[in-house]
Structures are given as structure tokens and as C-alpha cells.
Symmetry: none
Subunit: 421 residues, 2 copies
């Protein structure tokens, strides 16, 4: 079963809104075994919508449209779909009653401007909207070439679309499904796409005929996603098991997590499992390590805090870095990185601490320490290890990469067989 | 001039990645006076890419493709475009040298697996990638119907795509434009879109016939962009001057910056102008305020550092928050917020300090202090002010909003006529 998404809304074409609906829906449809083959976005224009609908009907068994179902004059999705399919719009009194009840719950009468919300292309099923006014619509139709097609329309408001998908669309998809589409995802850290590809070796051998592999590089991590499609779930799972096993074997400690894990989630889980606590001492990353660690819900179980020591005075006063060390080696140096990590571990009383000090740029570099030079140190009960990295000329990138590498070094410190640097 | 976007990547079709590139690019192209007429996403499949390219060439003057330019085997955009346009791929030695230099800066030789990065459809211009390996490509071509078209290809990695757009694509768009498209942008902070719209009053009067206004809400800020299109630059500038003057008058201290300013850039500039220094004490924002402040190049001129005090012990030890205060009022309280701000100001010896303490969620809320409750305090020579905010149930959103509000309260503290809260 295949699906094509069609998103309607001028706000997307001017960049005012990020289309998060498409990714959310795609994940849900894939999990239901539906292959999403294309996504298209057009403006609130009947001609553009009609042309896009024709392309979507050509491309896939199921066309999912979001946006343009409200009563305002730029909401023309329903009329355009009805015209394209040669269907009349019929006023559904049940929908009108639901909209009236929606306004009554808010202590207001329904303004007649909302009446078009009740218009339904004939033969379409109404999918109730438990959190808004415009319902979803599900139509099993025949396209101009005589093929059976499903057309689904939902409001563009994300939480309304999600509710309708979960309560009404997914059960209907499950009932129509044949075959499976399964994914297995590994998160790797510490090496780039090219090195990871090299370690994986012969991909034809790894994947066989049954699987495909995608490399998804992010900041300091590469996500590897293997996909199996087929009629037989057990065979697909077996092929995925085999490939995942080989990948884990070939990549070793470079595998940091799986599924939708971020590096900070994977690190957090590892810290919880081992019952260890962490603090940070940040100079060049300026709080980015702490911010990423605390973006994870429940981070307070293992993250006690951090010092952003942007000035030398702060490195001395809050982290106890000796003045002489800063004088002799400069703030961007191995001894200072080590002293910062040890200082944070002491100040917060944690099992581990990680420190960053470097030249984020765009200025401040020297011949000896060019922009992109970053020292990272991890202190724990076994001692302190430090590594020097050379990143890029871009400040944002340097901060992001240094934060990822810092977290990855903490992760590697937790595993006695892996080595840092 | 019209543009169609074509995004390539299986990761989008399975919902692993949200297509933020499309919205970013759309905003930039609109700002250059280019109308974006459609956006399409297809997988890493030559047939699908070729069909989508044909549709895009049909729809618009400029086709912008992102994704699928790397050396791994799922990266097939370039070959497909070359085949579709009847062009050979020619190895560009300049690109290869750039890629070699990229690896050399990282102390590694270039693996030959990267050589295909140098393949360029004949006649296409190379748009250098300052932060990655695969360059952008700009081709002025003729489609199958004999119409002049521009095809642009860029990597899908957002920061690479953005760099190439800013340095190479936007200047080329500006050069092709006829007439002027001028913008004036104001950054507002502290109030939502609805309140700002209300303060602006009658938009027909504000804008006249010559201008359009876009509201671009972000986290805790709303950007207002007025646009003038026309043949006459002087008339456009005059209309913009008038509207900007009226907007500044009606919005007062809610105007935090202009142009592409972020709140943190605007705040940084104000601190530099007044010669003041800032420190932060963060609990619920977990480093997000420091990270955003230090994302600005040159932040070390006014930002001395911060403490992320995630645990109560850290609030006591590093910020000197009295134990009794924490016991009596809890960490999420006005007295603790005040003590944190004052403690950070003392610890870093700064002119100003700002503190955040709240319930970011998703758990940890209570009847009295539900998820989304955040106290923010600003301490300076004149004393300490605190405010309580109620945000949402979403952790990410709460952290982002609290960080924005914290910075905005510092900004308002710098201006003796404005008031906080």
C-alpha cells in the first residue's frame, strides 16, 4: 500500500510554518506498513490543489490531504476535491451538531460562518474531530483512470490532525494492510559518514537483496537506518536481525544508541543504568552541552549541573583552575581542560565531569591554536583524559560538534573496553 | 520569478526527519522576491527524482533541489539531474582539491570513496561549501519545452545548505531580479502575535497599497516583516520608512531589534553599548540561556559565564542560595529565583545577572506549581525584580520560552523607561 501526502497552505510556501505534520504522519503511516512515496505542498489555490491532487492520485493508493478545511475563504480543499472527483458537496447535519456542541462547550453560539464545515463530498465518511471543529473525511473513490483510491482530508492544525489520525485513520489503515515495512536504526557517534561506511565494509554482503541502508549524518553523529519490505514479517525481522548484528559487530563502540535516540538520550540512559552522575565545565561550548543534556526529560536523575566559565576569572573562581596554569598555557590548553573537568567534578560532587575549552571563532584563532581548536577532558574516579580536536571555521558548527564530542567522550568513559580519542 | 523546491531523501518519507530546510529556504526566497509555488519531497529513487524534476521544471523558473549529493550509494540526485537534462557528469578537479583540503584540515587523507563529490553536470557552476564536502551546483538550462530554467542543487544538511544559500544562491537571485523587493524587519519580544497585531491597529492604514506585512512568530518573539515590491526604489524606501516609524511608535519597548537580529544578538549589542556585563543562573533552562547568549560571536565581551544549578546542592554551593529558602519555598519560587540571580551576580562579579527556576516537565508539576511554571529574576545595581510565567505542557517549548523571556527581561532592565512583567 502506498500513500502520497498533499499539504495545502500559503503559510508553508512563504516559510512561515515548518511542515511538521508531514514527518509525523509519515512515521505513523510507515509504522502501519504504508509506503509514503511522495509529499507535496501547494498554496491555497484551487488550480494548484486540483493539479496536485491529480498527481497524488496518479502516484499512490492513498492520498492524504491536510489543511484548508476551515470555514474561512482561503479554505478550499473540500470543494476542489469534490469538483475533481465529480462529487456533490452535501451538508451533514451530524457535523453541524458537533460544531454547535463545540461552541456550546465554550459558552458561545455557533456563528453561521461555520456552516460550510458541515459540507461533505457525497460518499465520504466523517472522521470526528474530538479537539476542534472541522472533521476529517475518508473517501473510497475511483480516479479518472478507474483505479480504486482512498482520499483522506484532515485539518492542518497539528493536534487536531494527530487526534483524527490516531482515532480514525490508523484503524482504517490497519484493516487494509498487506505486507510489512520494518526499520532498524542505529545511532553512531565519533566518526563521520565516510569512516562509518568504510567500517561497514561490503554493503551488498551486509544487506543482501532484502534490505536497504540509509546514512543520516547529524552533528557529530551518523544515524544508520536499515529497511526491510516484504510480505513476511518473520523473514523481514530475521534479515534485519542479521544485518543489525553484523553492523554492531563491525562498528563496536561507535554504536551509541538505536531507534530515535539522540546522543544525549543514549548517554543519559547509560548514566542511569550505571547509577552515575555528571557535571560539565564549559568554555567554548558556552552552555550547549548542559542545554542538550537537560533537553532530555528526567535529566535531573544524573545531571547535577555545570559551570559556563567564559572568562578566565570564572575558571579560577568557580572551577579552581590555578591562575598560573592559565598564565602559562592559555585557556585553550590541555592542562586547563583537565583542571576544568576536575574542578567541576569537585564542585558538583559528581562521578564524572566533562570540560570544553577552545576557539569557537570566527575570531580569536592563532597559528598555534586556529579557530576550531577544542580541548575536551573527562574526569572520573579513574583519572582524567583529554583530547584535542580540530573542527571548522564556523562558530555554530564548532560549538555543536564540540558538544557532541564532549558527550561522546563521557559515553566512551562509561565503557571500560573502549578508548577515548 | 517563481521557484519550486524538490527535497530528496528517504528519511523524510519515513518521517525520521522534519523538512525544516523547505521553510527556511522559502522564507529566504520570498525575501528575494521569488514566489515559491510548490514543494515536493521524494525518496532516494532515480525514477521518482526524475519524474519530480520534470514536474518542478514545468511549474517554476527556478528548481531548488536539496539532498542526495554525498558520495554514498543512496545519493543519486546529481546523476539523475544530468540524465534528465541530457548532460554529462564531468569531474571537477577544483572540487576534489577542496574536499582534499577539507580532510587535510582534519588531519586525514581523502578517501577515494569521496571522488564522486567532484562530479558536476557539464555547464553547471560550483557553489563552494565552506562547512562541508559536497558543493552546491547552479545550472542555467533549457527544459524539454525549450524554456529557460535554473536548477540549483544543494546538500540536505541544514547548516551546509544555509551557508551555500547565503553566500552563493541569494546573490545570484538578486542579480536576476527585475524591479526592487525591499524588506524592513522588526524583532518584537514579550508579547504574542495577537497582542502585537492589536497594538499595530488598522493595517490598511499602516501599510497602504504599497506594502505587505508578515508575522513570523518564533519562541517568545514575533518578527514583523514589511515588504515593498515595485519598480521605484525611492518610493519603496519612503513607504517602508513611514510604516516602520508608525510600527515603532505603536510598539514602543516591544521592539527588541531589527533585520535578522535574534533576541540574543540585540541584547548583546545593547550590553556592549552600555558597557555592561552579564552572568546567568539557570535551573529549568539547563544552560539554554547561556548557550543562546554564547551562540553570538563576540559574546565574551559582555557574557562572563553562568551556573547551571540543576540540583538544590548546586544552588547552595555555587550560587549561595540559603538552604532554608529552598526548604521553605521550594526551588521553584520567587525567593529562590531572586537569590539565584543575586548569587550569580556576586559569583561572576557582573553588572547584571538573570536566573530561571521552574517546572519544565513533562513531570514534576503540582497543583500549586504546574508544569510550565517558571520564575525569572534579574539582579542589577538597582536591585532585583522577579516575574512568574505560565508556559505550556511541552518541555522543549517551556525551556525555549523561558530562555527568551529571561533574555528579554535583561533587555528591558537596560532601559530605564520600560517596565518588566
Amino acid at each position: 500500500m502506498t500513500a502520497a501526502f498533499l499539504t495545502v497552505g500559503d503559510e508553508l510556501l512563504i516559510g512561515q510554518t515548518v511542515n511538521t505534520n508531514a514527518a509525523w504522519l509519515a512515521a505513523r503511516f510507515n509504522a502501519e506498513g504504508v509506503d509514503v512515496v511522495r509529499m507535496e505542498t501547494v498554496g491555497d489555490d484551487a488550480g494548484a490543489i486540483a493539479a496536485a491532487l491529480a498527481r497524488a492520485l496518479e502516484a499512490a493508493d492513498i492520498v492524504v490531504m491536510t489543511g484548508g478545511l476551515g470555514p474561512t475563504r482561503d479554505d478550499i480543499t473540500k470543494r476542489t476535491v469534490a469538483d475533481a472527483l465529480g462529487l456533490r458537496l452535501v451538508r451533514d447535519e451530524g457535523v453541524i451538531r458537533d460544531v454547535e456542541a463545540y461552541f456550546a462547550r465554550r459558552g458561545r453560539p455557533m456563528d453561521p460562518v461555520n456552516l460550510p464545515i458541515g459540507d461533505v463530498p457525497e460518499g465520504f465518511e466523517v472522521l470526528p474531530n474530538p479537539v476542534g471543529t472541522a472533521p476529517g473525511l475518508w473517501g473510497e473513490v475511483t480516479d479518472s483512470a478507474g483505479r480504486p483510491r482512498v482520499v483522506v482530508m484532515m485539518p492542518g492544525v497539528p493536534y487536531e490532525m494527530k487526534q483524527i489520525t490516531e482515532t480514525a485513520v490508523e484503524p482504517r489503515l490497519a484493516a487494509r494492510r498487506d505486507g510489512v515495512v520494518l526499520h532498524r536504526t542505529l545511532l553512531t557517534a565519533g566518526e563521520g559518514e565516510t569512516m562509518i561506511a568504510e567500517r561497514l565494509g561490503d554493503l551488498d554482503d551486509l544487506l543482501g537483496d532484502a534490505l536497504t541502508l540509509a546514512f543520516l549524518p547529524e552533528l557529530g553523529t551518523v544515524r544508520l537506518r536499515i529497511t526491510a519490505k516484504g510480505a513476511d514479517r518473520a523473514a523481514a525481522e530475521a534479515a534485519l536481525d542479521r544485518a543489525e548484528g553484523l553492523m554492531r559487530e563491525r562498528l563496536g563502540h561507535r554504536v551509541a544508541g538505536e531507534g530515535t535516540d539522540t546522543l544525549e538520550q543514549a548517554l543519559g540512559r547509560a548514566l542511569v543504568e550505571k547509577g552515575l552522575t555528571l557535571a560539565v565545565a564549559e568554555s567554548c561550548t558556552g552552555g550547549a552541552v548542559a542545554a542538550r543534556l537537560t533537553a532530555v526529560a528526567g535529566a535531573s536523575r544524573y545531571f547535577l549541573g555545570g559551570v559556563v566559565a567564559y572568562s578566565n576569572e570564572a575558571k579560577e573562581a568557580l572551577l579552581g583552575v590555578p591562575h598560573d596554569l592559565l598564565e602559562e598555557h592559555g585557556a585553550v590548553s590541555e592542562p586547563v581542560a583537565r583542571a576544568m573537568a576536575e574542578g567541576a567534578r569537585r564542585a558538583f560532587g559528581t562521578d564524572l565531569a566533562v570540560a570544553t575549552t577552545g576557539v569557537a571563532g570566527p575570531t580569536g584563532g592563532s597559528e598555534e591554536k586556529p579557530v576550531g581548536t577544542v580541548w575536551i577532558a573527562v574526569a572520573d574516579a579513574a583519572g582524567t583524559r583529554a583530547a584535542c580536536l580540530r573542527f571548522t571555521n564556523d562558530r555554530t558548527l564548532n560549538i555543536g560538534l564540540a558538544a557532541s564530542v564532549a558527550m561522546n567522550h563521557v559515553r566512551l568513559s562509561l565503557d571500560p573496553v573502549s578508548t577515548v580519542g
